[in-house]
């Protein structure tokens, strides 16, 4: 019987010893699953509802639009305050969408960064994983940049090291201690994420999936960041990198200016798709066409400029409203287009005193914006 017992013991211990580790790591459920594969993270980064909508308060507070009092009354308090440039923006208890959404994006980006990094250690489809990792860095940088535009003071070389920027959440650990980083640290993080992205992302623009970034997109965003920091030299360099890789522009003559949505969401000018926050918060402005384009701005467009008809609907009372954007619907575009890069280069060159070069870029752009025979 002792023999039997010992045999039993051996049989008994075997299942405990064998695949215990593997079993303990098995996902508990199928429908809700633990993302582990490249496809899972691709799907996470492809969530355009999350990543494709960004800060809107910056747009509301520009002087490009004019909001009549009636519409203004129907707006959310913070939107109204932002439009009116009131001292206190968030004076009631309401979700701060411009803050919440980018941080939700950062969470997904961080999950992807952590997950893909793990995969890189064992998988062999390195180009794809690199593209995913690059895209995640790009998206995190984009979110941080958008946050900084709304919630941090503008970058000032003199005070950046002491000005308070935004909290930088760079891991998925919920116990990570967060504090407001300085403006300097905020921007260095954005720049370092983007530089990382330019190393990893594919060279070519994915014209089928403009919600995925590419090297040109990363350079373009980097130039936007440098421009906002008033570092024109770096901005110009980054923009040049971008245009060297990808410089396509849409010839507006090819567009149907009578269409209510002249742009397709897949177009050759878009480097990265994004629009402002959609939904009830801005519905009175765009869905109900309550945001009137500043007449002074409209006046700047000369006859022969196709942009008037393609960007705007002119109401019977002469007021202009936004028709739509490169995003392909009625909401303003907040993504990155080559047109922006042309203008960045023009501005930087102008500021650095290279007027000729600047004009050259402006003209390259305008060639595609004016009626062919009139420019």
């Amino acid at each position: 019987m002792k023999f039997v017992s010992i045999l039993l013991l051996i049989i008994a211990v075997t299942p405990f010893a064998c695949n215990k580790k593997e079993l303990l790591e098995t996902r508990p459920n199928d429908a809700a699953f633990v993302p582990t594969t490249a496809d899972d993270f691709q799907g996470m980064l492809d969530d355009e509802v999350l990543f494709g909508q960004n800060c809107y308060l910056t747009f509301v507070s520009t002087d490009e639009i004019y909001i009549p009092d009636a519409t203004l009354g129907s707006l959310r308090s913070s939107t109204r305050n932002a439009y009116l440039w009131n001292q206190k923006i968030f004076d009631t208890v309401e979700p701060v969408t411009d803050w919440d959404q980018p941080y939700a994006q950062i969470l997904s980006a961080n999950e992807a960064i952590a997950g893909v990094a793990k995969l890189l250690a064992k998988e062999d489809d390195i180009p794809r994983l690199n593209a995913l990792l690059g895209d995640a860095y790009f998206k995190r940088a984009f979110s941080l940049y958008n946050l900084a535009q709304v919630f941090a003071p503008p970058y000032d070389l003199q005070t950046a090291a002491t000005d308070l920027g935004i909290p930088l959440r760079l891991t998925t650990d919920k116990k990570e201690k967060l504090f407001r980083a300085t403006v300097e640290d905020t921007y260095s993080q954005i720049i370092s994420d983007l530089k990382e992205a330019t190393q990893l992302l594919p060279v070519s623009v994915d014209s089928l999936h403009p919600n995925r970034s590419s090297q040109p997109a990363a350079w373009a965003l980097l130039s936007r960041v440098y421009l906002s920091m008033r570092d024109y030299q770096q901005a110009a360099t980054a923009a040049t990198h971008c245009l060297n890789l990808y410089d396509n522009l849409i010839d507006f003559n090819q567009l149907n200016s009578n269409s209510s949505t002249p742009f397709n969401f897949r177009n050759k000018e878009t480097l990265y798709q994004s629009k402002i926050m959609q939904g009830n918060i801005v519905a009175p402005l765009f869905l109900a066409r309550g945001a009137i384009i500043e007449p002074e701005l409209i006046k700047l467009y000369q006859p022969g400029d196709l942009r008037t008809a393609i960007f705007f609907t002119i109401k019977s009372n002469g007021q202009a409203t936004l028709k739509g954007s490169l995003f392909g619907d009625i909401y303003p575009f907040t993504g990155i287009s080559t047109a922006e890069v042309y203008l960045t280069l023009a501005e930087c060159n102008a500021r650095m005193g290279h007027t000729e070069v600047a004009l050259q870029y402006v003209n390259n752009l305008l060639k595609n914006r004016w009626k062919t025979n009139q420019f």
Partner: protein, 1132 residues
């Protein structure tokens, strides 16, 4: 003594030795008749010369000796002596010497059923032994005439004089009647069985007899009102997260609060209601941390350990048959507060007059009641005033509940059959049973069948033991006719000729009638739905277990257990093309052009199927150490590892147009929604989905438990367990959380310091420990789900719950202090326990600071504290032939949230009882109400308080802060108890169970004027009590009828103090009368006993605190009608 004598007399003896001549065997030429042994010995000396120095004390106790044959040789005579005298004589030829020793005695102790009684102390003079597991004992030297004393806990002491016979008869030790229900209490915690008197923790036990006093198809009702600290919660709102039963109140907020149920060593993987109670031998309740912590992470709510019947050793074939028939009344349709036809007519009239239905009537198709139809016809001058009055009167005379009662309900009937066989030798044992239950439900065309079988076979060798079990449960429930879905109680289901009548559904009946020449049959006739909707549910539960046990070394026993179960559940709903659901879908999505209908959906039925298959594998390796009694100390310990693996596959499918014969279904456009022809803003999809899912749980655990008893009076116990699971993880520290407990017990009376003659025992117990609780719906890992494709056609993935490396089990600590005592005669056995509980790391939605990126994270953020007591008092009295036993239990269980950051702030977020909304300082399940300011004497509007002032600004009150709420109290009983009475008179036994629940509240449903077609819902009964004129506010709280009412007027009233009721109640749960008719049967019938019984359950409320006539147990459904059972149980 003997030796001393030997030394003293040798010289004298020598004389005789030499006097006897050598030669053939000398004979003793004498016969004896009732002569003393001393005389025989003297004769021996005289005739043979064989001397002796046998102690007189020994000889004096011997009986007389009789021997008719004379001239026996010495050996012959000694042999005869040995036969008759309680001494062992031996001859030493060398010394010519006879010596004698007291004989050892052997015997067996049995209980009144003839079953061996192990562990009984057998004492003769200074020698004391214990009976072995077969009830046998051996006392090496027992002097004839000495007194043998048998003692055992909970058995009557037996004393018997040892007579001359070598073997004692089987001694019967009767169980002390006061302990009859707790006899032989060998408590099983699922790992080991331990006599109750050695336990420190809080245990309760139900034996077969107690279980038998309830006749039920499932095991849970048999526990009701019989266990202190255990309460059933009947009154569960559907969709509510309240548990089905509680042991000692609540230890968690959002996780499963129901107790863990163990059946034979492992958690029961199926639905416990499927287990046949006839196969259950005993139930143990583990209530405190010390008792339950061996089960580790899932035991904060207590554990119920069910032990099924097993084969027995040394048992003659025993066959037991149990048959019962239960008759139950129809559910009382009028018991739920609903608006009757006349009141309904009145409400509809006033609504109509106020123009409430103008919009609906304008659309043609919007559903209105027949009352409105008549009123409208009169107003459109289609009928005369006379006709209007007549038709309304006729309509009001039809209460649809009459038809529902007649056509959809019947008295219920359940038959139950159960046969079991038990047999065993000293090596093999077998138990097998077969049960068949069939229920003809109170709802017509509804039935339920169940077959259960349970088989146990074991082999036991010298040290090796093998035990195998096979279990099968197969059940099927069928419903061929769904209950009618009618929004009001007015009207009929069949006309006077019995033909089915159409009732309103989805679309106005008049409109359906108008379309009848274009569209095929669109009427909803509930009686015509028969056989067109077949709902079948099949369940099978199959599995077995194998246990091998071997005593490897001296005190060590190794056992290996393996259990495998497969559970499949299949649910099928076959709605034929002629069913209303299918016809309605097809008709409303038709396109109608110029009076011709063009169907966008082809004719077809709707077929739904859900399949669930679960496979559970449990294995355990365990080592037990038991040194038994070694003087003062007894140590028993066990340790082991176990693993549990559950794979659950679900598959569900719904298809439209399934062709049963061919098995295929058409490829249709399932993606697009089809608009309804009468209202294009409404659309429907063609029913279609296929869903497949697999869930996987894996646990491994290490556990250990040790008990230590010193001098039978001080017991100590420790227990611990470490669990590991795939649900938790990442951080190793969180992955393995040890849960441990310890306890002490002091049997005070056994200490010589205390002598209280009137008490038979006083025990003081103290335990402390921690348990856990698991919530399988959360995960430490990032959990994502497949989201719809983005606009570039790429599938996306959304994060549901971000990774939470810190996630861990919920932890619950409990301190328990208990005092047990009984009087000398054990007429009163009492136990009082007080406990404190603190639950921490409770999972709850935690609102994260928004830079986290996800506002809500399920995290270990809440804490709870609770305390309470369990008092139990058992009495036993005999008055001549009448034996009266009572068990009275009374408990308190309170709980209070001590930590939770509640982010809900609006008052109306706390009034919906379907959701758990914990607040610090309040119980988990708590009722809040808007402060009630009475009715406005001017117009009967309900009034509340806003900022401390009377107000009718309902929206402000309802959406305002929680300051507008009044705390009412717990919705689960704070005090509860039960009373079990058993009266036995000869062969007759009468038993009854009462339950009481106190200090809790419920909210009765209230009238809702704003939603009159919901009148079918309850609460409308108070319509007749509504405020009608000034002065009524003195007598009623029901607001006046107001049709165009402010948005929250109804809501405010429904959730105000005015609709709160006390739920306190005392209920007669069951009564059983049983009689053993064995003696009526001829003596030679092979029947050992034959009990016939009559049993009644759900008899009703004896007392309730609320004056509204509402049964607090059945707020959301019809009360379970009373039922009566007759049955017989006989043993062959």
């Amino acid at each position: 003594m003997k030796k001393n004598l030997k030394m003293v007399v040798p010289a004298l003896l020598l004389v005789y030795t030499h006097a006897v001549a050598q030669g053939p065997q000398p004979k003793i030429p004498r016969s004896y008749y009732q002569d003393s042994v001393r005389k025989v010995l003297l004769d021996i000396l005289k005739y043979t010369g064989y001397g002796n120095v046998i102690d007189n004390a020994l000889l004096r106790r011997t009986k007389t000796f009789t021997c008719n044959r004379d001239s026996l040789t010495l050996p012959e005579l000694i042999k005869e002596l040995n036969k008759q005298v309680q001494l062992d004589f031996s001859i030493s030829d060398a010394d010519k010497w006879i010596s004698a020793e007291p004989k050892g005695i052997r015997g067996k102790v049995v209980d009144e059923k003839g079953m061996p009684a192990p562990g009984v102390t057998v004492q003769v003079d200074t020698i004391s032994v214990r009976t072995d597991e077969n009830g046998k004992y051996y006392i090496p030297r027992a002097i004839f005439g000495s007194v043998l004393v048998l003692t055992a806990v909970s058995r009557h002491r037996v004393t018997i004089k040892i007579n001359q016979r070598q073997d004692m008869p089987d001694l019967v030790m009767r169980v002390k009647a006061s302990d009859l229900d707790n006899v032989n209490v060998v408590v099983s915690n699922g790992y080991v069985s331990v006599p109750k008197d050695r336990l420190t923790g809080s245990f309760n036990f139900l034996n077969r007899k107690q279980i038998d006093r309830t006749i039920s198809s499932s095991i849970l009702p048999t526990m009701q009102g019989k266990v202190p600290g255990f309460v059933f919660l009947e009154n569960r709102q559907s969709g509510s997260s309240q548990p089905f039963a509680l042991i000692r109140g609540i230890s968690t907020i959002f996780s499963n609060a129901s107790p863990l149920i163990i059946v034979d060593n492992f958690p029961f993987p199926g639905n416990i209601n499927d287990l046949n109670p006839n196969d259950v031998e005993s139930i143990t309740f583990l209530k405190d941390a010390a008792a339950a912590s061996i089960w580790g992470a899932r035991t904060a709510n207590g554990v119920i350990v069910i032990t099924t019947k097993k084969g027995a050793y040394n048992k003659q074939l025993q066959v037991e048959c149990n048959t019962s028939f239960t008759f139950s009344a129809r559910p009382d349709q009028w018991n739920m507060p609903q608006l009757g036809p006349e009141d309904f007519l009145e409400v509809e009239k006033s609504l109509y007059d106020s123009g409430y239905y103008n919009v609906a009537l304008f659309t043609d198709y919007a559903l209105v009641s027949p009352v409105i139809e008549i009123l409208h016809q009169y107003d459109s001058n289609k009928i005369s005033m006379q006709e209007r009055t007549d038709r309304l009167k006729a309509l009001a005379s039809y209460d649809i509940r009459n038809d529902i009662n007649d056509r959809f309900y019947r008295p219920g009937f359940i038959e139950r059959y159960h046969v079991s066989v038990r047999k065993g030798s000293s090596k093999l044992g077998y138990y097998g049973s077969m049960g068949y239950d069939r229920e003809k439900a109170a709802q017509v065309w509804t039935s339920f069948d169940r077959i259960t079988t349970n088989n146990n076979l074991f082999y036991k060798g010298r040290s090796f033991e093998l035990n195998g079990t096979l279990t099968g449960i197969f059940s099927r429930s069928i419903n061929d006719q769904p209950l009618p879905q009618i929004p009001y109680l007015i009207g009929r289901l069949a006309d006077s000729a019995g033909r089915p009548v159409a009732v309103a559904a989805d679309v106005r009946q008049l409109y359906k009638d108008q379309m009848s020449n274009i569209l095929p049959d669109w009427d909803y006739r509930p009686l015509d739905e028969l056989h067109k909707n077949k709902l079948t549910q099949k369940k099978s539960f199959m599995g077995g277990s194998l246990l091998a046990r071997d005593t490897v070394f001296k005190y060590f026993t190794v056992s290996l257990m393996y259990q495998f179960f497969k559970i499949t559940e299949k649910l099928e709903n076959d709605q034929s093309p002629d069913s209303y659901a299918a016809r309605d879908l097809r008709n409303k999505t038709a396109e109608i052009n110029n009076g011709v209908a063009n169907f966008t959906i082809p004719k077809g039925g709707i077929y739904t199927r859900q399949e669930m298959c679960r496979q559970i594998e449990n294995s355990r390796l365990q080592i037990n150490y038991d040194r038994g009694d070694s003087g003062f100390i007894r140590i028993a310990a066990l340790a082991g590892i176990e693993s549990s693996k559950t794979t659950a596959d679900t598959f569900s499918l719904q298809v439209y147009g399934w062709e049963k014969d061919r098995g295929n279904f058409p490829q249709l456009n399932y993606a697009d929604a089809y608009p309804f022809f009468y209202n294009s803003s409404l659309t429907a999809l063609i029913p279609y989905y296929i869903d497949k899912n697999r869930a996987f749980d894996y646990y491994t655990s290490i556990f250990g438990n040790a008990g230590f008893t010193y001098r039978d009076r001080y017991s100590f116990s420790v227990s611990g367990r470490i669990d590991e699971s795939n649900l938790f993880g990442v951080k190793a520290k969180q992955k393995r959380i040890p849960l441990a407990s310890a306890g002490v017990k002091w049997e005070i009376l056994k200490d010589s310091l205390f002598t209280m003659n009137w008490l038979s025992y006083v025990n003081l117990r103290f335990t402390a420990g921690t348990n856990g609780n698991v919530n399988t719906s959360v995960s430490a890992y990032t959990i994502a789900e497949r989201a719809p494709e983005n606009r570039y056609g790429v599938p996306t993935v959304g994060i549901i719950n971000p990774a939470n490396d810190y996630l861990r089990w919920e932890k619950s600590s409990m301190f328990n202090i208990g005092l047990d005592w009984a009087d000398k005669g054990r007429h009163f056995t009492c136990s009082f326990e007080y406990y404190w509980r603190r639950s921490d790391y409770l999972l709850a939605p935690s609102f994260q600071e928004s830079t986290y990126g996800n506002r809500v994270l399920w995290d270990n953020v809440a804490a709870l504290s609770g305390k309470g007591f369990d008092l139990s008092l058992n009495t036993f009295h005999t008055i001549r032939d009448i034996k009266v036993r009572n068990g009275l239990f009374f408990s308190q269980a309170t709980n209070k949230v001590t930590r939770y950051e509640q982010t809900l702030i609006r008052a109306n977020q706390f009034t919906d009882q379907r959701f758990v909304t914990p607040r610090v300082g309040f119980p988990v399940y708590n009722l809040y109400a808007f402060k009630w300011g009475g009715l406005d004497p001017a117009n009967g509007d309900p009034r509340g308080y806003l900022n401390g002032e009377l107000s009718k600004n309902y929206t402000a009150i309802v959406n305002g802060s929680t300051d507008n709420l009044v705390n009412i109290g717990s919705t689960v009983p704070v005090f509860f108890g039960g009373l079990n009475s058993v009266i036995t008179y000869k062969q007759l036994e009468l038993s009854a169970t009462f339950t009481g629940r106190f200090k809790y509240y419920f909210r009765r449903s209230a009238i809702s004027y704003a939603d009159p077609l919901r009148v079918k819902l309850m609460g409308q009964y108070d319509y007749s009590k509504r405020w009608q004129r000034t002065g009524d506010e003195e007598n009623t709280t029901v607001p006046s009828l107001k049709v165009w009412t402010e948005e929250n007027r109804d809501f405010f009233y429904a959730n105000s103090e005015a609709t709160v009721e006390k739920a306190d109640q005392i209920r007669l749960q069951e009564v059983k009368i049983s009689y053993n008719i064995r003696k009526w049967l001829p003596e030679n019938y092979p029947v050992r006993s034959c009990f016939v019984y009559i049993y009644a359950s759900n008899i009703g409320i004896i007392w309730k605190a609320n004056k509204s006539g509402i049964d607090p147990d059945f707020l959301y459904r019809f009360p379970i009608p009373g039922s009566c059972t007759i049955g017989a149980r006989f043993e062959l």
